[in-house]
C-alpha cells in the first residue's frame, strides 16, 4: 500500500455524521447547566466568589483556546508534519475563545470589586498603567487581535479541505508567525492586567511566562484527552496512532517540567531576595490553610507526571496518558485557584464551596459542548493538507 492510498478511506468517512453518544452529550449539557446555575445563584448571594470563579474559568478556558492556537501556530511555523492528522482537535479547541473572552470582559465590567485599584487608585506610573480605561482598552484590543488571527488561521485550514490549495498552508504559516509575535508581545501584559493586578502592590516579571507555561501545558493535556476520546468514538480511528501519542506525551512531559522550572525560578528568587513586598504573594498562599494546596499544585502538575511519564510505554499508552493529562488539568485549575482566590476572596482561610465546585465542573461542560459543535462543523482531519500523508504515516 503506497502512502497516498491511506488518505482515501479517511476522506470518505469524514461526513459530519459524527455525533457523541446521547449520554455523553447529556452529561456535558448538565455540567454546563450546573455551572450556569451556580454562577447565577452565586452572583446573587456571594458575588465576590462567583466573579472570582468566573475569572478563574474564563482565564482557564481562554488558555485552552490560546494554547491550542499556539500549538497549531508552532506546527505551521516549524513546518512540522507529525501532528497535521490531529490538527482538527486544537482547531476545534479554539472555538472556546469567544466565550472565554466574553467571560473576561464580563468579569472586568461587573467584577470591579475584584480589583482594588479600581477604587483605591494607584498613583504614578502604576496609576497610568492600571487605570480602568487603559486596562479595558488593552483587554478589548488584545482579545480582538487574538480572536481575529486565530479565526483566520482556522478558517484557512478548513477552506483547504474543499479548495485543496497548498498555498493556504503558506499563508497560514505567515499568519501563524504573526500570531506568535502578537501573542508574545501582548499576553504577558494581559496576564498582568487580569490576574496579577488582583494584588496591585505585588509584581513579578516572570508572571507572563508563568501564565504561558500553565496555558500551554493545560491545552496539551486537554488535546490529549480529546484526541484519545475522538479516536475511541470514531472520527480519529485509524488516524491517531501510538506514534502521535508518544510525541504528545513527550511534549506534556517537557512542558510540565518547563512549568515547574518557571515556578521554581520565580519562587526561588523571591524567597532568596526576601523583600517583604514580594514575599507577601507567597506567604498568603502558604498560610491560612492554603499550604497543602500550594504543595499539591506542584505534586499534581509536575512531580507525579514527571515520574509517571518517564517510561516510553506510558507515553504510548492512551489509558495512562489520559489519566496523567486529567491530573494535570486538575493541577491547572488548582494553579489558577491559588493565583486568584487568596487575592480576591481572602487568604485568611480557604474558601471552597458550591459556587467553586459548580463552576469548576461547569467549565469543562461548556468547553466540551463548544468543542463538539466546532469539531463537527468540519472534516475530522485536514484532508487536503500537503503534509497529511506524512502525518498519517508518522514514525518516530
Amino acid at each position: 500500500m503506497t502512502p497516498q492510498h491511506r488518505v482515501a478511506p479517511v476522506s470518505n468517512r469524514w461526513s459530519p455524521s459524527f455525533k457523541p453518544s446521547a449520554r455523553a452529550y447529556a452529561v456535558f449539557k448538565w455540567l454546563a447547566i450546573v455551572g450556569a446555575v451556580t454562577f447565577a445563584l452565586g452572583l446573587l448571594f456571594t458575588p465576590q466568589r462567583a466573579l472570582s470563579s468566573l475569572l478563574l474559568v474564563s482565564v482557564g478556558l481562554l488558555g485552552m483556546g490560546l494554547g491550542a492556537a499556539l500549538f497549531i501556530a508552532f506546527q505551521y511555523v516549524c513546518g512540522a508534519h507529525w501532528a497535521v492528522a490531529i490538527r482538527r482537535v486544537p482547531e476545534a479547541m479554539c472555538g472556546i475563545l469567544p466565550w472565554a473572552a466574553l467571560g473576561i470582559l464580563f468579569t472586568l465590567l461587573v467584577g470591579k470589586s475584584l480589583y482594588p485599584w479600581t477604587t483605591d487608585h494607584a498613583v504614578g506610573m502604576k496609576g497610568i498603567i492600571l487605570s480602568y480605561p487603559a486596562v479595558l482598552t488593552r483587554t478589548v484590543v488584545f482579545l480582538a487581535i487574538w480572536l481575529l488571527l486565530v479565526r483566520a488561521i482556522v478558517r484557512r485550514s478548513r477552506l483547504q479541505d474543499t479548495a485543496g490549495d497548498p498555498s493556504l498552508s503558506v499563508s497560514n504559516t505567515r499568519l501563524s508567525a504573526l500570531f506568535l509575535v502578537v501573542f508574545g508581545l501582548t499576553f504577558w501584559m494581559a496576564s498582568f492586567d487580569w490576574v496579577m493586578s488582583l494584588e496591585p502592590e505585588w509584581y513579578s516579571t516572570m508572571y507572563g511566562v508563568y501564565h504561558f507555561a500553565g496555558l500551554f501545558l493545560g491545552a496539551l493535556a486537554a488535546m490529549i484527552i480529546l484526541a484519545v476520546w475522538l479516536q475511541r468514538v470514531g472520527p480519529l480511528r485509524d488516524v491517531l496512532t501510538p506514534e502521535h501519542l508518544h510525541d504528545m506525551g513527550k511534549m506534556l512531559f517537557a512542558f510540565s517540567t518547563f512549568w515547574m522550572y518557571i515556578w521554581f525560578s520565580e519562587y526561588m528568587l523571591i524567597w532568596y531576595a526576601d523583600f517583604p513586598e514580594e514575599t507577601g504573594h507567597f506567604v498568603r498562599r502558604q498560610t491560612g490553610g492554603w499550604g497543602p494546596l500550594f504543595v499539591a499544585n506542584m505534586v499534581v502538575t509536575w512531580l507525579l507526571p514527571f515520574f509517571i511519564l518517564l517510561p516510553k510505554q506510558v507515553k504510548r499508552n492512551p489509558n495512562m496518558l489520559v489519566k496523567v493529562a486529567a491530573m494535570i488539568l486538575f493541577g491547572r485549575w488548582l494553579d489558577l485557584y491559588l493565583l486568584i482566590y487568596p487575592a480576591s476572596v481572602g487568604h485568611e482561610s480557604v474558601t471552597f464551596g458550591a459556587v467553586e465546585l459548580g463552576m469548576a465542573v461547569g467549565a469543562p461542560g461548556v468547553f466540551a459542548l463548544v468543542f463538539i459543535r466546532s469539531f463537527r462543523s468540519s472534516a475530522p482531519v485536514p484532508v487536503a493538507d500537503p503534509l497529511l500523508t506524512a502525518s498519517l504515516n508518522h514514525h518516530q
Partner: protein, 454 residues
Amino acid sequence: MASAPAAISGPLILGDKSPGQVTDDVCSALERGPARSWWIAIAISSSMLLLGLITVAYQVLTGIGTWGLNNTVGWAFDITNFVFWIGIGHAGTLISAVLFLFRQKWRTSVNRAAEAMTIFAVICAGIFPLIHMGRPWLAHWMAPYPNTRGPLWINFRSPLVWDFFAISTYFTISLMFWYVGLIPDMATMRDRLTGGWRKKAANFLSLGWNGSFRTWFHYETVYLLLAGLATPLVVSVHTIVSWDFATSVIPGWHTTILPPYFVAGAIFSGMSMVLTLMLIARKTMGLEDYLTKRHVGAMCKLLIATGGMVAIAYATEFVAAMYSNNDYEQFAFINRAKGPLCWSYWIMVSCNVLTPQILWFKWARSNMVVVFVVSILINIGMWFERFVIIVTSLHRDYLPSNWTGYAPTSIEIATLVGSFGLFLTLFLLFCRFVPVIAIAEVKGVLSHGRKSHE
C-alpha cells in the same frame, strides 16, 4: 514516512552524495596539509592568545587592581566576558542535544562544530572567575572536600558556588557527548589513515569501534541518554548564571524573569557565533553542499525566535519597573536608556532587537553576506547586553555620593582579546584534526539512493 517532508523542502545535503563521497569530502580536508589561509588565521589567533597569556600572568602577579573596577562597580568587564562566553556555548548544546530530541535532521551538518564551540567557549568562560578570585592557585578551595582549613568552607548558599558546580558538570557532560559522537568518525579516520601518529591517535580514540549492530545499538542508546542529560543541564547553567545577579537586591538585577531570559539570550548569542564561524568554515573549507542555505535559514529562524524572546524580556522588565512604582527600579531602567552609559543600552537594543528583524525576509536569510553581518552584530549586541545588565545596574546605586563611572583598562581589553585568541586557536586546531562534520550522522540523512515521491 519520515522522508516525506523532504520531498517538499528538498534534500538536506546537496550534490546527491554517496556515503563514500561524504567520507572523502570531510576526511580529505584533514589529510591534506593546511591551507595558507589556515596558517594566517592561526598566526593571528595564537598572537591574540599570547597577548592574553601575558596579560593574565601580569594580572595574577600584580593583582586585579589592574582592572578598572572601583568600590561601586565591583563587577564589570570580566563578568561580562564570563557570561558572554558561557552563553556562546549554549547553542552547541541546543543543536546537538535539544534538536536531536526534536528529531531535527538538519542539525547533523552543524552539531560537531557547534558542540566543539561549546567546549571551547566554556573553557574561555572559566578563565574570568578564576582570575577574579585574585588568587587562582587556591581555586581548588571551591570544591567541597574534607580539609584542614578549619571552619573555612565554601558558602553553599551562594549562587557563585552553584555556578561552579553547574558549569563543571555542563563541561563534563558536553565533552562526553561530543566525544561519544566522535567515536564512529574516529574509527573512519583510523581506517583511512595508513600510518603515523594520527592513525595511532585515531586508533586509541575510536575505542575499538567495529561498526557491528551491537556497537551501534550501544552507541545510539548512550547518545540518546546523553542528549537527555545535556538538555536540562544547558537550561540549568544559564539559569544559575542569571541567579548570580537575580538573587541580589540590586535594581536591574533582581527580576524574576531573568532565568528564562538568560537562557534564551544565551542560545541567541551562541547561535549567532555558530553562524559567524560556520559561514567562514563553509566558504574556506568548501562545505557548501553540507551547510546549505537551508541550514543557514533554519539557524536564522532560531535567531528570530530567541531574539524575540529576549526582546519580550526587555519590554517586560521595563514595563514592570514602571508598574512597580518603586523609585529605584524605575530609575535603574530609565538610567539604562538615558544615563551616561546609554550608548551601551542602545547598541544592545539596535543589535539584538532591530537587527534580527531583517531575517524575516527570505532573501536576507539566503544571502550569506547579510547573515554574516547580522551574526556579527548580534555577537556585539549580546556582549553589550551583559555589560548593560552588569555595569549600568551598579554604577549608580542607592546612594548618589557613590555614583561613578566605569571604563575598562587596557589589561582588561587585552584579556578579552586573549580569550578570543584562545577560542579561535582551539577552533582552528579542531578544524585541522577532527572531522568538522559528523560523517556518520550525515550519512543518515543523505538523499542518495532514496527515491523521492514525485
